[in-house]
């Protein structure tokens, strides 16, 4: 072996060793960049988000904003893996209500309590702050105050001779049977009961409408109490009765929207974003002009007339980001009142002033869907329920998702499935 070869080998090995240990210190570029991780399916469309960035750059020219989109189901894991690197892959992340406890505990989120002025604090719904605040510390700006709404196809109901949408689930069953009998639609209602978070959302909406609750006063799982089992049993039975589209057990919200928008369902519950796309957008829907919203029904005899699920999200700055201040500026801009009002077609503003008096009228005049969605939001919001804010929610939720699927696919009885899930929750809480 030539001496040259050996020397080259040694040099290469040393170079590799050096590069491995010294990596991590990167030269700072003069232009600050903010990397954002968001989700495409709710809130403004990516084009609108880009418009917002352009507007942001008018007042903040030196800050470059880059937005990456992933699907909701991938968002959690993506955040978890991208936080491990130093500096983190993203500066701003979209965080779902149910992850705040976990992410706060893991130290991903920047504490911004002190950065929020009293004025801001007062102008936003208290319930919105509940989303981004954990143990009194605020970790982000509430951005998407969303809940599920009840949609129905007015034309189908009229054709069947039904005057008004159902107020209780029992009424819905009766109306569904009529629709089915008259051949107006084969499966009157479509749900999103896939083995994903969305099934839990539907379950929670039904659960609280049956006098049930997710956890009890001590934080212990209560979804396997009588009310919970009854609710799940009702879900299973409704498929057997033929009023629920059987494909619902593999559907998520987009599938519900598709089915409803093609006139293959008379009833559906979904997030706010569906309204514009189903009721107004002629490219996306075949039932434009036939879609109405009303309060989500509850079960007969329930204390409250309605029950929905609160699925809100907030934007947070990553604690270890090297560009925290710039990132915060962007978050503030994105969630500011003017921007929220302007793009309110797909998300209702979190600023409470917009829902009273003059401001309300102005808000409703901003686009075609607001006159329907804004009052609906106001009406439904008091009845929307949150899921438990615990750091182990991700794992616990998977157990409950599994339970719902098992019951719906009839591999376990509702009682069995829910009991198993409850056992998992108790275990996780330790």
């Amino acid at each position: 072996m030539t001496k040259l070869y050996r020397i080259t080998m040694i040099v290469v090995l040393i170079a590799m060793a050096i590069s491995m240990t010294s990596c991590g210190a990167k030269p700072e570029s003069t232009e600050k960049s903010v990397k954002v991780l968001a989700m495409q399916q709710a809130g403004p469309t990516p084009e609108e988000m880009n418009e917002i960035v352009a507007k942001f750059n008018e007042s903040n020219p030196g800050i470059k904003v880059n937005i990456d989109y992933v699907s909701y189901d991938a968002l959690h894991d993506k955040i978890a893996t991208s936080m491990a690197t130093n500096p983190p892959a993203y500066d701003v992340i979209l965080v779902d209500d149910i992850w705040y406890a976990e992410f706060a505990k893991n130290g991903y989120l920047w504490d911004v309590t002190s950065k929020i002025s009293k004025e801001t604090k007062d102008s936003i719904f208290a319930a919105a702050w509940d989303i981004t605040t954990v143990n009194g510390v605020t970790y982000g700006m509430p951005w998407l105050l969303d809940e599920k709404y009840f949609f129905y196809n007015e034309k189908m109901l009229a054709d069947a001779g039904i005057a008004a949408p159902p107020k209780t689930w029992e009424e819905l069953e009766a109306q569904s049977l009529i629709l089915k009998e008259k051949g107006i639609v084969e499966y009157p209602i479509v749900w999103s009961w896939a083995q994903a978070e969305t099934a839990i959302c539907d379950f929670v909406a039904l659960l609280y409408g049956n006098g049930g609750r997710f956890t009890d006063e001590n934080g212990k799982p209560a979804f396997n109490e009588a009310a919970g089992v009854e609710t799940l049993q009702w879900m299973v039975d409704s498929i057997d009765k033929g009023i629920v589209n059987p494909a619902s057990i593999s559907y998520v919200e987009e599938d519900v929207r598709n089915t409803f928008s093609q006139g293959k369902a008379a009833f559906a519950i979904n997030w706010l974003y569906m309204y514009e796309l189903a009721a107004i957008n002629t490219d996306e829907s075949q039932v434009v002009g036939q879609v109405k919203m009303s309060l989500i029904p509850a079960f007969e005899g329930n204390a409250a007339p309605s029950s929905s699920i609160n699925g809100s999200m907030g934007f947070s700055v990553v604690d270890k980001s090297p560009n925290r201040e710039e990132a915060w500026k962007y978050v503030e801009f994105l969630t500011s009142e003017e921007i929220q009002r302007e793009y309110s077609a797909h998300l209702p503003p979190v600023w409470s002033g917009n829902y009273e008096g003059e401001a309300l009228n102005e808000l409703m005049a901003l686009n075609e869907s607001n006159p329907v969605t804004v009052p609906m939001f106001k009406e439904q919001f008091p009845y929307s329920h949150v899921r438990p804010k615990v750091p182990y929610y991700a794992e616990g939720s998977k157990a409950l998702q599994l339970a719902l699927q098992e019951a719906l696919t009839k591999s376990k009885t509702p009682q069995q499935a829910l009991d198993d899930a409850a056992a998992k929750w108790i275990e996780l809480a330790k």
Binding site: M1, R6, A80, K105, Q195, I249, S250, N258, E395
Partner: protein, 299 residues
């Protein structure tokens, strides 16, 4: 004064230097990490703070032995591997023999085989996912227009069926590999042996079993080992088609490890799991080699 080395010693010295880069890479990228995995498997390290901490001894391993999910996923992985590889072997052998008989257009067939093999596994998953789609998929469309089913089915919502459908997707992708290997091996069987056996008056079946199959042994061994190891650690196709569902029906051992490590954030138990997978895979490979590797018998 440089020492004079014998030729043999020179070779050893040269060999060392030539192997050094490879050894270096393996050491850093494979050996160290796997030792690290072993260390981690005795800890409870969270994803949010990924430095080894919280020594917990054998707790992770014991937790798995007691966990229903774990055994279920082991069972599923074995099921997937055996059915998948079994089908691939049989079909692959058939196709190899078919090509070997050189019917009209055999070159086209052989070239076509390359396509499913070269398509990336993720694209493979995407294609089949779309085929199995409950509302607009080709499978539904085809069976419906042939009158085989009355109504469109949501194929992927039934756990056992979903598993088998994933197997179909995997078979489509992997049969070419086996077929091509076996066909190449068949092509190396000297004509004299084939002709000799024909003259001897052996029947087609006898010819097949005693001559071809025996001579194919090394190739079958290679194909089996490679495919079994791959099938055992299947992940990509599950991630794309079913994400482990429905009702965890397609959670194989690799997917379970992914869930543990990156969704729930328990790097410690994830490491324990992955270590177990390596051990099982290695064992499987050794078993194969023992069974199938025997000195060739000349007829």
């Amino acid at each position: 004064m440089r020492k004079l080395l014998t030729l043999r010693q020179q070779e050893e010295r040269d060999g060392f230097w030539m192997l050094l880069p490879a050894i270096g890479v393996f050491g850093v990228i494979s050996v160290l990490p796997i030792l690290f995995t072993l260390v981690l498997s005795f800890t409870d390290t969270p994803l949010s703070n990924p430095t080894p901490q919280n020594f917990v001894g054998l707790k992770n391993f014991l937790a798995f032995i007691n966990s229903k999910d774990f055994w279920a996923s082991i069972w599923r992985t074995f099921y997937f591997t055996s059915v998948s590889v079994g089908l691939e072997l049989i079909l692959g052998l058939g196709i190899a023999l078919l090509i070997h008989s050189k019917p009209f257009g055999w070159q086209f067939l052989r070239a076509s085989l390359i396509i499913p093999w070269a398509v990336p596994t993720i694209v493979n998953g995407a294609i089949w996912r779309w085929i199995y789609n409950a509302d607009y998929g080709a499978l539904n469309g085809l069976l419906y227009s042939l009158g085989i089913i009355e109504k469109y089915q949501a194929w992927l919502t039934k756990p056992f069926l979903a598993m088998n459908l994933v197997i179909v997707a995997d078979v489509w992708h992997s049969v070419p590999f086996i077929a091509l290997i076996l066909q190449a091996a068949l092509a190396t069987i000297p004509r004299e042996i084939e002709e000799a056996s024909m003259i001897d008056g052996a029947s087609v079946w006898q010819r097949f079993v005693h001559i071809r199959l025996q001579l194919l042994r090394p190739a079958i061994l290679v194909a089996l080992v490679v495919r079994t190891v791959e099938a055992f650690r299947v992940f990509d196709i599950i991630y794309v088609i079913t994400q482990g569902g429905p009702a965890f029906g397609t959670v194989t051992i690799s997917y379970l490890t992914y869930l543990e490590s990156f969704t729930y954030g328990h790097l410690g138990s994830g490491s324990a799991l992955s270590f177990l997978i390596s051990a099982i895979t290695l064992m499987l490979a050794l078993i194969y080699i023992r069974i199938l590797y025997r000195p060739e018998v000349q007829k």
